[in-house]
Amino acid sequence: MFPWIKKAVAALVGSLWSQPYAVCSSLLVARRSVTSQEWWVTLELAKRTSLGVLRLCLVVVILVVRIWTALLRRPLRVDSGTDVGEKPVLETLTFGSKDGSGEASPGAETVANLPCPQCSYVSDSKEDILAHLILTHKFLIADVNFVANLSEYLSYWKKRLEEKPLSEFCSKIVTNSGTKDEAPKEEFYLLCDALPEDKKIRESLQRKKLEAVLAQQQKEREETKFCRQCLFCKQTFCGNRAVLFDHLLRDHSFHMGQADNLVFTNELFDLIQFKLDSQLCLFCEKSFKDKASLREHMRKKQHRKINPKNKEYDQFYIINYMEMGKNWESLQSEDNRPVSNHEKPANEEEEWSGWTEDSEPRVVCLFCDFSCPNQSDLLAHMKEKHGFDLQDVNQKLQLNFYQKVKLINYIRRQVSAALSGARHAMCANTAVPMIRGTSVWDQPQYFFPTYEDDTLLCQLDDDDEGAAGDALGVTVIAEEIPLVRDSILTEKLCRELQKAYPIGCIFPSQAAGYLKPPVGTSAATKAFLNDTVAVTTLSSISCQMFSVDQNILSMDVSST
């Protein structure tokens, strides 16, 4: 705003002695959107005033108006012509959107809040709780490192152990049970995934973790605010992480893998940066005196990769989250042949199904905050609570699709205005008599949805009233189909004409017999075509088709 004002003031000062047109044009430069009406008014008034003072006043007035509107940042009110006293502010509203679950943290899982399944001891660290379990309760968890989310796992078992005794779930291990052992026998309880319930909970935790990681990756893939300096050179890359990966691969031959196989890329880059800063080679992990010798080493030995054996990098590759306990090495050597002899041919139905969303979009009531997943429940609610039967209204007034949309948008607009304290309140009691007067809500402004994510609009019944043309109720014109190829007749004609009439001749009006001027050519043009027709150009005959009617072709008359 400020540079604009400076410009305008400069224009003003400089223009005290100049033409009014220059003033207006400099205003135009300063602020681009001068409406045509203002422009005209300014010009006319400026033309008529001969006194410099009057001119000055005029310009000042315009400036003041502009500054006022810019400061208040309000669009100039359009006269809507409704009988409502206050003009509606036509901004789109949204229902509160559910924000996604928090970001999955890389590396170590959240180890806070680890409850003991058997007593009320709670601990923060994994080793602590495991030690407590062994020492106090003689309770062992098999493959505890493979459990995706230890705190959830423990909470689940805590609940289950409250219901049933320990021996139902755990197998007993007796130590020192040999006859020669002198130490007393000890019994240990082992919880492992031989028990199907345990296996199920472990698998579901793993799946949840995988999905969280995939969601994180999707977020990273769509991120546009990624900004980072390259690890090896001084260039900075902004935009998507894929840009930096491309650069590393192409310009430095640094292979980290496809960006789509990686997750938590920021942390990965931080880790690599840290290693480079502490002068460690990424591949062989030897340390060097300074950056130059490190660079030489990496270049000579082609160590432009990260160490595959280092388990630190495992957390950044999605393939390691696929199944518990298996990292990429074991997965590669797996026997992937199917159990049965013949594999089911993957038909298309199967391919597309499977992607289901757990959270269904909810429809919100017109009058209150009630929301529910399906439309029929909502209609029942509105009938019951607010005495408003939407279906009944639609039927009685015989509304077509567009009118239904307008009605809903109108009601929503009024309700939101009521909520924000405007004069015009709408509740169900006043709704029905108001709606009878269709002119109130059957306005074109209610085509636009009041709420951006209004699910009710997406579930309106649309009986087959009419798909196109007059039955649709409104005029919708389809775009023209692009003409792809000339008719073979044209090409044949072109070739013949080129053969018969070389460049520079006027070909006789016999050729005009082939030609029919397109619909809409004036009489003069038609006459011209009949007499002399076209002169072949220096370059070639240009056969141009008019796309209005494919049957009619015409030659380009204009070329010089």
């Binding site: 799946r207 995988l210 995939l214 990756q217 999707q218 894929a242 491309d246 691969l249 192409r250 031959s253 893998g257 496809q258 789509d260 196989n261 082609q302 990769k305 595959p308 990098y313 590759y317 999605i318 393939i319 997965l331 797996e334 026997d335 042949r337 199917p338 993957a346 391919e351 597309w352 199904s353 499977g354 992607w355 699709f401 949309v405 074109p444 085509f447 636009f448 949805p449 997406c458 009419g466 798909a467 196109a468 043309g469 649709l472 409104v474 919708v476 014109i477 389809a478 775009e479 189909i481 692009p482 792809v484 190829r485 000339d486 008719s487 073979i488 007749l489 009617d549 494919q550 049957n551």
Partner: protein, 282 residues
């Protein structure tokens, strides 16, 4: 195939690669995907020149005999090579978007086998859109395969004007319906400025197709988003199938490309040459 041919060629260009290729198996899952060289902007040293067409249509496209994608659509010729689409809708024009990656499981001798299924939509935001699904062990491979399948399924979208014919077309030309599984999606024309009134998944698809304003009406189990997306795609495909009054005039038939260029194909790409070579190898 073209991919395998490209990989060794790509090797020699990247000097630092050679050592790494020895332990390709231990490439921590990235070697496999990387070797192909092709991918979303990666290994972009190979270009159009490396495309060796294997279909007649591909050869005609590469030799520039076919001027636009619409000529192929006019004759409903099946497109089997995604490079054909790349030739007409160049590298920056067609944008792809990953709709979802989901893990799927299958029972094998070694236990459960998890793979990733990628759902990808491509579109140029101006009249062409495609959808693809692919399942693979790695996310990157799945995405790449899905993009190729999506490109092969690109269809033209007919749009229309609401009211008067000024500016660019912005909405569907008529009410169209598409169905997949139990989901039925109906697209209804809307005035300029309405935006796309629908659930998020079809909204993305319609936006990529170049439709700016549209009402939708969906029935059925819309929580199965795979079917929802496919139903929207089917509805968009129907826009060119609908016979509007301006198409009532008589069609002027033109020669299909195979007929028109049959001499050219015979001269330049005759099968006998190929067969002779094959025998040599044998």
């Amino acid at each position: 195939m073209a991919d395998a041919a490209a990989a060794p060629a790509g090797d020699s260009q990247r000097g630092g690669f050679r050592g790494g290729f020895g332990d390709r198996g231990r490439g921590r899952g990235r070697g496999r995907g990387r070797g192909r060289g092709r991918g979303r902007g990666r290994g972009a040293k190979e270009g159009d020149k490396d495309w060796v067409p294997v279909t007649k249509l591909g050869r005609l496209v590469q030799d520039g005999k076919i001027k636009s994608l619409e000529e192929i659509y006019l004759f409903s010729l099946p497109i089997k090579e995604c490079d054909i689409i790349d030739t007409f809708l160049g590298t920056g024009v067609l944008k792809d978007e990953v709709l979802k990656i989901m893990p799927v499981q299958k029972q094998t001798r070694a236990g459960q086998r998890t793979r990733f299924k990628a759902f990808v939509a491509v579109g140029d935001y101006n009249g062409h859109v495609g959808l693809g699904v692919k399942c693979s062990k790695e996310v990157a491979t799945a995405i790449r395969g899905a993009i190729i399948l999506a490109k092969l399924s690109v269809i033209p979208v007919r749009r229309g004007y609401w009211g008067n014919k000024i500016g660019k077309p912005h909405t569907v030309p008529c009410k169209v319906t598409g169905k997949c599984g139990s989901v039925l999606v109906r697209l209804i024309p809307a005035p300029r400025g309405t935006g796309i009134v629908s659930a998020p998944v079809p909204k993305k698809l319609l936006h990529m197709a170049g439709i700016e304003d549209c009402y939708t009406s969906a029935t059925g189990a819309t929580s199965t988003l795979g079917n929802f997306a496919k139903a929207t795609y089917a509805a968009i495909a129907k826009t060119y199938a609908y016979l509007t009054p301006d198409l009532w005039k008589e069609t002027v038939f033109t020669k299909p490309p195979y007929q028109e260029f049959t001499d050219y194909l015979m001269k330049n790409h005759s099968r006998s040459n190929v067969q002779r070579q094959e025998q040599k190898v044998y």
